[in-house]
């Protein structure tokens, strides 16, 4: 077990990388669909001039978000191995598979299509460009599915079994794995919240349209309607906390503001069975052939993850006493219950504000007069609401999963690499510095691309 400092720094480093990536992903995903819809409208109606200016700036924003999202992905790939080497070994067999399928089927394809999409608008005919845009949307949505399959599996793991020879969890059935009951709901929930984030960004651009409100009205109306539908659909919610698993039940209890300690007896039972599974595992490692031990282990091995919770209280898990088992069970409850409770409430409040944003914009877009500067400022502030809702939802999901990296199977602290606090500190500082520079570059580019009409983004470099 790593020292607390190393564990905390590793967690913060991962959270930092995740948050940075999360800033750009909803925008990229949502804008891709909105741009495809607008481009289709232009194609059919020939009313390109209505949209041209906001559309052009939207496209620039999309290009920037795409590049930033891809770039911010790199440190995440590094994190799993560098800071979570035991995590990578212990669950990599199942966890890494969707990530690889994502790169193969979505990410590289999206990057390949992004080149001609971004640079080939004048070279390709309207029809080819539109087809390319929709293919790009498809690639990005496929990509999101695989990523969310990994996330779903972390929250609600299925189709894995512990292999005592390899000392890790191994995939038992790919069909069950891919049909994780959580994934479709999570995917749709993430997609619609991304559309809401993108629609909010479109509204801000329309409100700040330098050519005037009249030219941007139809774009704003389209974004507001998309946003209203998307926000309405987010109300269906992420199905994860409603799953019949102990970790999710505890999360749901905390979301409802109830006392999670009522789960302690059940947690203690799991820890006891986990310790028993660990004892059997030790005997099994001495004698691989004993079928009776193997059968007992097979019965109890789903609780093995709970045995790792004992390690901070007794390094020799097999010798854990009742008090240590109680302490381990206590540690299985999320350490920050108030963060979960208030993040959830913040998510709901931000969701309601998002509805206000879209409804208000839709009403304004139907009016002939341009909104006042004060109204534009209010709406611009409200445009942060969908992001706030998304980030709050992410916090509920991640804090609600604690202390687990993989719910019920591997505690976060156990997955961390063996490092010294100095190494972890240097690594964290390097990440922090690089992320600040990265954000500064992104911020400057966003301002330049959106506000400077003379910039040509049909050429790279």
């Amino acid at each position: 077990m790593m020292t607390d400092t190393v564990t905390v720094l590793s967690h913060w480093q991962f959270a930092l990388s995740g948050l940075l990536h999360f800033l750009f992903i909803p925008l990229t995903l949502g804008l891709s669909l909105l741009l495809a819809v607008i481009e289709s409208f232009q194609f059919e109606s020939g009313r390109r001039d209505d949209y041209q200016n906001p559309f052009g700036r939207l496209e620039r924003l999309f290009k920037l978000a795409f590049v930033m999202a891809l770039a911010s992905r790199l440190p995440i790939l590094l994190q799993f191995g560098a800071n979570g080497s035991y995590f990578s070994h212990y669950v990599g067999d199942a966890f890494a598979l969707p990530l690889t399928l994502e790169v193969l089927s979505g990410l590289i394809l999206a990057v390949l299509l992004f080149g001609p999409y971004s640079l080939g608008r004048n070279r390709l005919g309207k029809g080819w460009h539109l087809a390319l845009t929709w293919l790009l949307v498809l690639a990005m949505h496929v990509s999101a599915f695989w990523i969310l399959l990994s996330h779903s599996w972390m929250q609600y793991p299925v189709a894995v079994v512990f292999n005592d020879l390899s000392y890790r969890l191994e995939l038992t059935d790919f069909q069950i794995f891919i049909a994780n009951p959580v994934v479709m709901g999570k995917w749709l929930h993430t997609l619609v919240s991304s559309y809401a984030c993108a629609a909010a960004a479109v509204i801000v651009l329309a409100l700040r349209n330098p050519v005037g409100w009249h030219d941007a009205r139809s774009t704003a109306l389209m974004a507001a309607i998309t946003g209203l539908i998307a926000t309405g659909l987010t109300a269906i919610g992420d199905p994860t906390p409603k799953q019949a698993s102990l970790t999710q039940s505890i999360k749901q209890t905390l979301i409802e503001g109830d006392n999670p300690e009522r789960w302690l007896p059940e947690l203690q039972t799991h820890v006891r069975q986990g310790v028993e599974a660990f004892r059997l595992l030790e005997r099994l490692r001495d004698d691989h052939q004993d079928s009776a031990i193997r059968a007992d282990f097979a019965r109890l091995q789903t609780n093995l993850g709970y045995a790792w919770l004992v390690k901070p209280f007794n390094q020799q898990i097999a010798g854990a006493n009742d008090q240590q088992i109680e302490l381990a069970a206590q540690s299985a409850l999320p350490a920050w219950p108030l963060v979960i409770l208030w993040s959830y409430r913040l998510m709901i409040a931000a969701g309601l504000l998002t509805l206000v944003l879209f409804a208000w914009t839709a009403w304004l877009a139907r009016q002939a007069n341009a909104p006042s500067e004060a109204t534009r400022t209010r709406l611009t502030c409200l445009a942060a609401a969908p992001w706030l809702a998304s980030v709050s939802g992410w916090l509920v999901a991640e804090f609600g999963k604690q202390p687990w990296a993989i719910a019920g199977l591997l505690p976060s602290a156990s997955g961390v690499s063996a490092s010294t606090p100095t190494e972890a500190g240097i690594s964290f500082a390097a990440y922090l510095l690089a992320n600040i520079v990265f954000l500064a570059i992104g911020w400057h580019l966003a301002k330049a691309l959106v506000s400077n009409p003379t910039i040509n983004t049909t050429e790279a470099g």
């Binding site: 990578s88 640079l119 000392y167 390097a430 691309l449």
Partner: protein
């Protein structure tokens, strides 16, 4: 049935890993090698810009191939991924953070304010240099052996530090890889640029080629005396993955074992050497297309030589020999491996073809959108830049 298949799956996964290694060498090699040249070419601002404009439209694709490579290792060899990333984290941290900054700076270079462009140019050059040197350092340390240990729970302990990774052999390999990638980057850039910058690149191309040839010979000589690794116990090709279930010995010259058992493998380094010679000769004759083709062969053969020498090792440990990772004892489970092999077996060749299209179809159009037949107009070439 499954255990019979596991051996084949592991071999196929290794072949796919080699393909991905070649892909990364060829593609990310262009970006890294090309950007490393910025410090040499970028003295004239317009020359530096020409390099950036040529690399910008393909740099995202190159980074995506690097991600594919990492993801493939993670899926097919989870513990190798864990050990490699944990052990090399200092070097990888610098490489990947610079790469992260590189992508937006390169793609939106002209959108940066004037006073940022100079700094961006330096950062881009540093990123190219760091990537090329980093690849070499990693390769050198893999050949030398990495100071890691696996305990009975398979927890990884890296027992070295940054200075351990900067050993003389790894530094020599880093210099070799730097020369190779700058030659490759210059070959690609010379093919897509015109005028003075092209002449400058050609000069760098053959110089880097000669440098690579000399360093390749030196590295080969050192490897023949370097301590290699050999599995002394029975190799259980179909057993569950457990790196600790074998015995490994280390002895001088063992990395040449595979060439003794399969003499035809000597074709790989020989072809690398010949292709390098061809790059130098063709670059001097100004035959850019054929020079690029030879450079591609050179990078491919060098990558395959590296893989063939190591086989069946993925990551040897020089502190705890039996902890060394081979393709037989560190793979994913049969189901995960089968899915990975099937997906990559179909996807990788397809992506390779599409990547080729990505380079020919749109990289060139970045110069003059809609005017593919017209070479870009550079400012007049001063006599001082002519070779």
């Amino acid at each position: 049935m499954m255990t019979t298949d596991l051996e084949t799956l592991r071999l196929l996964a290794w072949a796919i890993l080699m393909l991905a290694t070649v892909g990364v060498g060829l593609l990310e090699g262009i970006s890294s090698g090309g950007l490393a040249l910025l410090s040499a070419v970028g003295e004239r601002r317009d020359h530096g810009h020409a390099l950036i404009r040529t690399l910008a439209p393909v740099a995202l694709l190159h980074a995506a191939w690097l991600m594919l490579f990492l993801a493939l290792i993670f899926a097919a060899w989870p513990i190798a991924y864990a050990v490699a990333l944990h052990s090399f984290r200092c070097v990888l941290l610098a490489m990947l953070l610079l790469l992260m900054l590189r992508l937006p700076l390169l793609y939106f270079y002209r959108q940066l304010p004037e006073h940022w462009q100079g700094h961006a140019c330096k950062l881009l050059a540093a990123s190219g240099l760091m990537m090329a040197v980093g690849f070499g350092l990693l390769a050198g340390n893999v050949l030398k052996g990495v100071p890691f240990h696996l305990d009975s729970d398979m927890r990884v302990a890296f027992l070295g530090d940054l200075m351990t990774l900067l050993n003389p052999f790894a530094v020599l390999v880093a210099a070799t890889v730097l020369a190779l990638l700058t030659m490759h980057g210059a070959s690609y850039l010379a093919l897509h640029t015109y005028g003075g910058v092209q002449l400058q690149l050609r000069a760098l191309q053959w110089r880097a080629g000669i440098g690579f040839a000399i360093l390749l010979v030196l590295t080969g000589l050192w490897i023949s005396h370097l301590e290699g690794y050999h599995v002394t116990s029975d190799i259980l090709t179909k057993a569950a993955s457990n790196p600790l279930a074998k015995f490994v010995k280390r002895s001088e010259g063992l990395w040449l074992d595979n060439y003794e058992h399969e003499p035809w493998l000597a074709v790989l380094p020989t072809l690398a050497f010949i292709a390098c010679g061809l790059v130098v000769w063709l670059a001097r004759r100004g035959q850019n297309y054929w020079a690029m083709l030879s450079s591609t062969v050179c990078v491919t053969m060098t990558s395959l030589t590296f893989g063939a020498s190591l086989f069946p090792f993925l990551l040897p440990s020089n502190i705890s020999l039996n902890s060394s990772l081979t393709i037989w004892d560190s793979s994913a489970s049969p189901i995960a491996l089968a899915v990975t092999v099937c997906a990559a077996g179909v996807g990788l060749p397809l992506l390779a073809i599409l990547s080729r299209w990505g380079h020919t179809g749109f990289a060139a159009s970045n110069w003059h959108d809609g005017e593919l037949d017209t070479p870009p107009q550079h400012p007049p070439i001063s006599s001082s830049t002519k070779e």
